[in-house]
Assembly symmetry: C2
Homo-oligomer: 261 residues x 2
DNA sequence: CGTAGAGTTGATGTAATTCAAAAAATGTGG
DNA sequence: CCACATTTTTTGAATTACATCAACTCTACG
């Protein structure tokens, strides 16, 4: 059909925690039909062109602030590479990470016009930014986009409910097991239809601080718990910030509180 | 324009925790423009007729199951009176209440086709039920409805994020203070544009078990904490399952962790 | 007025935090 | 490429906020 795509134009410094992957020949910026949360499923070529036109590609180094809690919600983002953490904070600095946005996911919706959360890149992140008014216009023009967005937000809400169960009712061990399985699941989802790995890998580009703030624990408890799981040979650390899940079923039992120890 | 509306047709047993209020003369079942989450803001008369036509009024006694986790998501509900609790459970019975749905709010969205949560009435609840296919048709026919629903879900997501901060990072005292303020806020939102009460009332129709499962605490801790706040004259119990907030500003300070004690 | 369910209060236990320090990992400049 | 500085992670000991266990009180309702 066409030649090999040209190499990516923009490159920034910073370690890449995930192997490089070349994009397809379509030059718009959304990783569309690749993930279950894909916002442009079923949108026609013209629609995609319109989307590409009103968005701008961004490449952000690790630790960049994308959104600040309480600020005017001017932008809507779609993540195409890397991981973003979303969080809320208390005045004294205590912080709760409410979720991680991986490729194919969005962030930046707001009801009030102000962001209700902060967002920061975990590693090097590629994203598309839409300006709010233009994005709202797109939503009105493209009923499918609105539909997909509604589905995606519904999904996020279900995830949030699951996380509330974790935060309110699970033990440290159950929390960590759930987290690792969730990361492995996210990786699986991102890769698409590949055969299920008997010992899946959970990408963990975030620090212990981030994990602790996500699970409502301290870094020490996270560290101790991961060490214990490793000692018990349920997981094994691999290179470049990943953890291999050696016994997924056992870990699942732990994550759902179905184990005595 | 018209006479006094006829008295309500259906009545069920069970204490009413909120004074009776007669509906307007429009006979559809959604409490529309009354609350910020109103699903039919801006929908024209014809649209409202269509909505009314594809929904059915329900009156449910306290403790009724509306939705069961894992079951096929056949219905979508809009609450018009009373309070519903939404929750997720672990196999061993531990439970996390992820939210309370008050009048004007919806429940029953699902991405997967299965409910990701359970829902049970706290007190006597009036609701409108839509069958799923019909509701989806309505969504497609009424772009405003889809828009309102997207806004409402976005709101729910922000609420969920706030609750994650509470569950993961707040102390028992901060949790209870936040809960009471949230209930008072919900009441204020439901009442509409009334002058702000200097000592607002938080309706608490739910039991200590429910509060504990909402805050990720035990009933004993909830009880002790409420007693402490009462002893300190920050709150006062009133009749019929309500708590009056005597010092809202002080409680807000506690809720956001800005107090030493 | 008696009983059952809900709520409160007290005594004790413990999972996770806090405080502290060593060990690894990561980055930096010669 | 290797010493050195800095940050991150791990491990250990002591503390604590909340849970658990247990008993008592209140309220609603026949």
């Amino acid at each position: 059909m066409s030649q090999t795509p040209p190499p990516p134009l923009h490159l920034t410094a910073g370690r890449h925690t995930r192997p490089e992957r070349t994009e397809g020949d379509l030059q718009h910026c959304l990783l569309c039909d690749r993930s279950r949360g894909g916002l442009c499923n079923g949108i026609d070529r013209d629609g995609l062109e319109a989307l590409a036109h009103s968005s701008r590609r961004l490449i952000l180094p690790p630790g960049s602030t994308m959104v600040e809690e309480g600020q005017s919600a001017e932008s809507f983002f779609n993540i195409t590479r890397g991981t973003v953490k979303l969080f809320k904070s208390l005045p004294d600095g205590r912080r709760q990470i409410t979720g991680f946005a991986d490729p194919g996911q969005f962030l930046g919706l707001s009801r009030s016009g102000l962001y209700a959360f902060g967002a920061e890149t975990v590693d090097t992140v590629h994203a598309c930014r839409f300006q709010r008014p233009q994005f709202e216009a797109l939503l009105n023009d493209q009923p499918d986009l609105k539909r997909n967005l509604l589905a995606a937000v519904t999904d996020k809400l279900a995830e949030a409910q699951e996380q509330m169960l974790l935060l309110g009712r699970k033990t440290a061990r159950e929390k960590v097991a759930s987290f690792l399985l969730g990361r492995a699941q996210a990786e699986q989802t991102m890769l698409g239809d590949t055969p299920p790995d008997p010992t899946p890998v959970a990408p963990v580009p975030m620090t212990r601080v981030d994990i602790a703030d996500y699970l409502g624990l301290t870094i020490e408890t996270v560290s101790r718990t991961i060490s214990a799981l490793r000692r018990e040979k349920l997981i094994a650390s691999t290179e470049n910030h990943s953890i291999r899940i050696l016994l997924p079923e056992a870990l699942r039992q732990i994550a759902t509180g179905q184990t005595a120890i």
